[in-house]
Assembly symmetry: C2
Homo-oligomer: 121 residues x 2
Amino acid sequence: MHSLALIDLTADTPCCPPLAERRVPADTAAVLALAFKALGDPVRLQLLSMIASAEGGEACVCDLTPAFDLTGPTISHHLKALREAGLVDAERRGTWVYYRARLAILRQLAALLTVEPTHAG
Amino acid sequence: MHSLALIDLTADTPCCPPLAERRVPADTAAVLALAFKALGDPVRLQLLSMIASAEGGEACVCDLTPAFDLTGPTISHHLKALREAGLVDAERRGTWVYYRARLAILRQLAALLTVEPTHAG
DNA sequence: CCTCTAGGTTGACATCTATCTAATCAGTGT
DNA sequence: ACACTGATTAGATAGATGTCAACCTAGAGG
């Protein structure tokens, strides 16, 4: 859809040096911002956390939905946003759908925000 | 303004364990999502990067603005968003205003996204 | 084939957001 | 006091976003 081909956040090798090391180029910023935007909602942040911290590294939608005071479609909408941001993968097994976090991307984002422990911020 | 008092992202001690370690509570997610939302825009991501990677750890608005194809007020708007998210500090010196990244918060966010390098994601 | 359940899709609506122009505020210097 | 420059604020507007009700799709199991 959008130019995710330019920067591959899925790769195991770091896509970009830390944000504080050198200026993030516009192309890169556009891709990275999509990921952060997906994290920029309390529901999605909790969803991702529930998925990433779940037993076996995966969570069923049937377990995620009742954890919120929201309707099914709304949860589904947020999960789609996480999927399209590349933060999670979905797999259908029978009636249920299981979500799994894409750890490589989380690492990329963490690395981007990492700063030297030199001077207190 | 909003309940930043509940969770202090400015503290040097980690506010929260990694997202993948245990589920982020709703209160915490609400605060953290504000920070990620601020990062969820390409312009703001570049601004923060320019500020954090600048010589001396600070950047003048007068240097930031011409780097974008946007008007002054728009840049000012984004800088305000970064300020209110607690990601940067502003200081006026004479005619100019200098911005500085809040490294402690960046570390908090990086720590939150950090995952064990165990299984490839 | 029918029905039941788990999820996802569509369409609508209220709210929020990114951007601009115009106006305002803060400092410098004449 | 006045004019000039840097930066923020205010108001307006087009577009994006979160939410829901209603509907549709995919499997499981009679």
